[in-house]
């Protein structure tokens, strides 16, 4: 018992759990963009960094309340998401993937060159406001919101675009508008995640938000099961914890990680939970129980 409590209060584990939650929020944002709307985004980390720097600078220079900084960080990321999304979505195909890839590298270089962000040396001294409770409250809020969105007219329109854009358009859905809204919401979550990250690590460096970070988040979303919220949560958990567990293999860690990614895709191309629809399982279970009850009623 004591061991369990100390596990939960051990600052190291708390830190790992917080980071995991922060990434979950970012991954849920990408889930909406890639998993639900079907649009490739290879620069998600750039939106994290926009949220992170915006909120950190507000904390440092304006001293505004944390919750406001989180919100503004998210909104700033969403604003850039919209600015990048408008030209990208006017073209059909993989263009968002390509422009976000470019955008990610540009944002990194801009932050390295800016004075106020501390340049390549990084930005330190950010107050520690994020804790495990804040992080997981936002995770729960995000999951609840995404669940409601996905099961609404709005969410169905996004799914329709993912499945077949031409058919979606013929159903009265304006693809440009809906992709843009989905992208804005997804980048908003990325911005919030970045803001939490800034106030957890207390130090930001542009190099932490490069191409490889973007792909790490994409990995979370795809490996768990593309298009599934439980999959995204599972993927993020497994992949943020895997390096911790792979510590014993030391320098072979990334070698194994890379090989695992390839193997996973070959044996489960839809991800760990791909193709499993919990909603449908639940509805079937309910229908089954109802028919059992009816039977009993008849017999009785």
């Amino acid at each position: 018992m004591e061991a369990i409590i100390s596990t939960f209060t051990n600052p190291y584990y708390l830190q790992v759990a917080s980071i995991m939650g922060v990434y979950m929020i970012a991954a849920l944002g990408l889930h909406l963009i890639t998993g639900v709307t079907g649009q490739f985004s290879f620069g998600h980390a750039a939106f994290l960094s926009i949220g992170a720097y915006t909120s950190a600078l507000m904390s440092l220079y304006l001293g505004t309340p944390f919750i406001l900084n989180l919100l503004v960080g998210g909104l700033m990321a969403a604003l850039w998401g919209v600015l990048l999304g408008i030209p990208s979505f006017k073209l059909t195909g993989d263009y968002l993937g390509i422009t976000t890839l470019g955008f990610g590298e540009i944002v990194k270089v801009v932050f390295i060159n800016m004075k106020i962000t501390g340049g390549a040396g990084g930005l330190g001294g950010i107050p520690r406001e994020t804790n495990v409770v804040v992080v997981y409250s936002i995770v729960v809020l995000a999951i609840w919101g995404l669940y409601r969105l996905q099961n609404s007219r709005f969410g169905r329109a996004l799914l329709a675009i993912r499945e077949d854009e031409i058919a979606a358009e013929s159903m009265g859905i304006n693809p440009l508008l809906y992709k843009l809204k989905g992208f804005a919401l997804g980048t908003f979550l990325a911005g919030v995640s970045g803001a939490l990250y800034a106030h957890l690590m207390q130090y930001l460096n542009p190099a932490d938000f490069g191409f490889s970070r973007s792909f790490e988040i994409l990995n979370f979303v795809v490996l768990g099961g593309l298009g599934s919220i439980p999959g995204t949560v599972l993927g993020t958990s497994v992949l943020t914890l895997a390096p911790e567990f792979l510590r014993f293999v030391r320098e072979y860690r990334m070698l194994i990680y890379g090989a695992l990614m390839v193997t996973m895709m070959i044996f489960r191309p839809y991800g760990l939970l791909g193709g499993i629809d919990f909603g449908k399982m639940f509805r079937r279970y309910r229908a089954q129980r109802k028919s059992m009850k009816d039977k009993k009623a008849v017999q009785g």
Binding site: R153, E163, D164, S170, G172, I173
Partner: protein
């Protein structure tokens, strides 16, 4: 009375190819009109222009007296034109019910905030959408398959789901692109009954179809396209005996 749908001098070029050439067409409310012609005659292209997927090279499209030329597909849909596709375009990985609900899209208004708050108005709208969806699934005989994934349906069922999805928006005009393709005689018979019911609901139908028996028994009028040009128009009986049409389909005997 003015026509429900009117095409004036519609011309479509793809690069150097003239897919449709100066095509005039009229459709009165309540009619069932078929567009027939050999493969590659430009029939589906006409559909794609009416529904806004391709812009015409020249010519105009009027619907209900309004010029809808060059409008986007999603705007045209809200005017009351719904369609099905020749090579099925269902939302494959979604359930049958969700496919039809998406068909109801332009009848709802819920956006992001509505979805998050689920205020009474939003709930009421969802209820209307659900009722309408179940109603059209009943019409096409798929009510017992609403939880099935669209991809798992049999071919004929997928075609019927496409029709249900189009009907969900309560269109004024239904464009059916080869609805009977790949169906067996029994399924075709059922489809014909279904179309008659749809027509009785007051929906105007324009269809492209290869099965002549099917076309002749359901249409009020038949227009024939060949190499992008209209070569005949009239009642099924008139068109069937038109020498030009027979030549187009069977080739001329002299050469």
């Amino acid at each position: 009375m003015s026509a429900l749908l009117e095409l004036k001098g519609m011309t479509i070029h793809f690069g150097g190819l003239i897919a449709v050439d100066n095509f005039d067409f009229q459709l009165e409310k309540g009619q069932v009109v078929a567009l027939i012609g050999p493969n590659g005659a430009g029939k589906s292209t006409v559909f794609n222009v009416i529904s806004g997927i391709y812009p015409p090279t020249a010519g105009k499209v009027f619907f209900n007296g309004e010029d809808i030329t060059n409008m986007k597909p999603y705007h045209i849909k809200t005017r009351g034109i719904a369609r099905t596709f020749q090579n099925i375009h269902l939302f494959k990985k979604l359930s049958v019910l969700d496919n039809v609900r998406i068909g109801c899209h332009c009848r709802g208004r819920t956006g992001v905030l509505g979805a998050l708050t689920r205020l009474p108005g939003v709930k009421a709208e969802e209820k209307v959408i659900l009722e309408k969806s179940l109603e059209v699934l009943e019409i096409v005989g798929l009510a017992n398959k609403q939880e099935e994934t669209a991809n798992n349906l049999a071919y004929g069922e997928q075609r019927r789901l496409e029709i249900a999805r189009a009907l969900a928006a309560e269109p004024l005009l239904l464009l059916l692109d080869e609805p009977a393709a790949g169906m067996n005689p029994n399924e075709k018979k059922n489809l014909m009954e279904m179309l008659k019911r749809i027509r009785a609901m007051g929906i105007t139908i324009m269809l492209v179809e290869h099965d002549m028996k099917f076309v002749m028994s359901i249409s009020d009028r038949v227009d024939v396209l060949n190499y992008g040009q209209k070569i005949a128009s009239g009642t099924p009986a008139e068109v069937q005996n038109d020498p030009l049409v027979i030549t187009a389909y069977l080739g001329s005997q002299t050469g």
